[in-house]
């Protein structure tokens, strides 16, 4: 049974003088123990060990050599490409995603909003082979849209284009980045109160002025936060890139996957761990500010 201070019912005025204060302290932690044990063992411990091992040489001595290799090619190019695709896919998805979230949340009927929420949830989780198939079927060499465009006089394969290139991958990434933006930006739209629009109009503001001085400043932090999370999502995506590229486009998640599988051999056994640690660091630069912004905006979003 979960013990609790208030569970005993009686007011606890005398309790501070009780000789069992140590027992009380114990009670302050005990119910959280199962969660802490599981999270500690299956999450904190593996991540700590990962970062520690990244600093070990093949002979288990402390070294920085894994990191110096990680900053050289081909791994350097991998990082540059991954960061580039993270930024580009986030920026391209964020604005249409935010606008779509605005129209759906502020103008859509309840049924539509719920359907969009479920669909976005499923679509934001698509990836890997199924997503690759969808785009091969649409804009692959034998794709439907490719054929239609060709009939209309635009052969998208006349140049360098293929789904395995940076541009190809970028288009495919938008398929999960856009719904992700709709999901994480919608709460900010929902929290914009109708009263604020009315108050602004009553004070003589027009639509442009309302957006310039109230709507936009209120939504801007959430927008930046969402953009950061989208970057992290595009930066660390593995499954889709793995299904579409054939080693022609160096990306850090794929390089780590290759090292983990043993498909790629490296003289440094712990190189993959160093690459992983650097990925965590880069991802933290985006996600930690997102979480801070999220916490701050949650204050005014509370009803």
């Amino acid at each position: 049974m979960t013990p609790s201070v208030i569970g005993e019912g009686a007011p606890s005025r005398g309790r501070t003088f009780s000789p069992f204060t140590s027992n009380l302290n114990f009670r302050k932690y005990l119910p959280a123990l199962p969660l802490l044990l599981i999270v500690g063992y299956f999450f904190l411990y593996p991540i700590t060990k990962l970062v520690y091992v990244a600093f070990l040489s093949n002979e288990n001595t402390l070294t920085l050599s894994n990191f110096t290799t990680a900053f050289k090619d081909p791994y350097k190019t991998g990082f540059i490409n991954s960061i580039k695709i993270g930024i580009t896919s986030a920026v391209i998805a964020a604005i249409p995603g935010a606008i779509a979230a605005y129209f759906i949340e502020s103008k859509g009927p309840s049924k539509l909003r719920r359907t969009v929420a479920v669909m976005s949830g499923v679509l934001a989780n698509t990836g890997g082979v199924p997503l690759a198939f969808m785009f091969m079927a649409a804009i692959g060499i034998q794709g439907q849209l490719t054929k239609i465009l060709k009939a209309a006089g635009w052969d998208i394969y006349s140049g360098q284009f293929s789904l395995g290139t940076f541009t190809g991958l970028l288009i495919v990434y938008l398929y999960f980045q856009l719904p992700l933006m709709v999901i994480i930006f919608s709460p900010a739209i929902v929290a914009l109160r109708r009263e604020w629009v009315e108050a602004a109009y009553n004070l003589g503001a027009d639509k442009v002025e309302y957006w310039r001085r109230i709507g936009f400043p209120l939504l801007f932090p959430s927008f930046i936060g969402s953009l950061l999370l989208l970057f992290a999502s595009g930066f660390s995506a593995y499954a889709t890139a793995n299904a579409l590229t054939v080693g022609n486009l160096p990306l850090t998640p794929l390089q780590i996957g290759g090292l983990l599988d043993g498909n790629v051999s490296a003289t440094q056994l712990n190189l993959g761990k160093a690459l992983s640690s650097l990925m965590i660091l880069i991802s933290a630069f985006a996600v930690v500010p997102y979480l801070v912004i999220q916490r701050r905006t949650a204050r005014w979003q509370k009803r």
Partner: protein, 254 residues
């Protein structure tokens, strides 16, 4: 205003085009029957009669079910307790529960592989615990918001003085009071674990999402049919779950 009337349909049309063109293109491929020409459900029939189909459906479904169970069992009592008492742990647990968002899944897979002992890594039951970690930020936040919105102290005191023990208080008072948060938690945890690919494949396990890769090697149209199902099945299940939800409150929206 005219502009605001066409804005929503226009948005939906553009989004719909981007979402449905690839989906319908793949669907068209999946109902092709090259052997006899024309269209038919042959690829779908082939897929569901494959021996592995049911095996992997049950395996992925079972793992997702276990993940949901672990998530609810660990989180509902703990977060309830954190809301009731002034524990110094609250801030720490709040923060830790958001940390999985920071860790790229590939890095998490490497960490799990080098640190979990053999007896854990040799059973597929390690996956629900790892999926639990991946879903933790979403599940935690959803339950936390739900518990913030109800008069938790009053409810528990009432239940306790009516003679309910803690298990009963949680199952028949708290969970019904926050059922839309619980449903949302179930939905996100289920969706995440039934479709998880990266962690699963890097730890060398086979589930429904990774099975498609093997099928693609010898029956591409069958693999496309399976891919279509892997999109439609979660969609149907999640729509079912959300239809069970009460309407989202319109208070303050008017």
């Amino acid at each position: 205003m005219k502009s605001s009337k066409i804005a929503l349909p226009l948005t939906l049309a553009i989004l719909g085009f981007f979402v449905f063109v690839p989906m319908l293109s793949a669907f068209e491929f999946s109902i092709r029957t090259p052997a006899k020409g024309g269209y038919g459900w042959d690829n779908y029939i082939w897929a569901v009669t494959e021996e592995e189909f049911l095996h992997y459906i049950f395996r992925s479904g079972g793992l997702a079910f276990l993940t949901v169970l672990i998530t609810l069992l660990l989180l509902v009592p703990t977060i309830t307790w954190l809301h009731l008492v002034q524990s110094p742990l609250r801030v720490a647990i709040d923060t830790v529960s958001l940390l999985p968002l920071v860790i790229p899944v590939v890095a998490f897979a490497v960490g799990a592989q080098i640190s979990l002992p053999e007896f854990i890594q040799s059973t597929v039951l390690e996956l629900p615990f790892l999926y639990f970690v991946l879903a933790l930020p979403y599940a935690y936040r959803s339950l936390d918001i739900g518990l913030n919105a109800i008069p938790l102290k009053t409810l528990t005191e009432a239940a306790r003085s009516a003679g309910a023990n803690w298990v009963r208080t949680i199952t028949s008072v708290i969970i019904p009071a926050i059922r839309s948060s619980v449903m949302a938690t179930i939905a996100i945890t289920f969706a995440l674990s039934i479709g998880e690919y990266t962690l699963t494949v890097l730890l060398h396990w086979d589930t429904f999402p990774t099975w498609v890769t093997y099928v693609a090697q010898d029956n591409i149209l069958g693999a496309i049919a399976i891919s279509m199902m892997s999109l439609v099945i979660p969609f149907v299940i999640l729509t079912g779950i959300t239809l069970l939800l009460p309407e989202r409150s319109n208070r303050g929206r008017r």
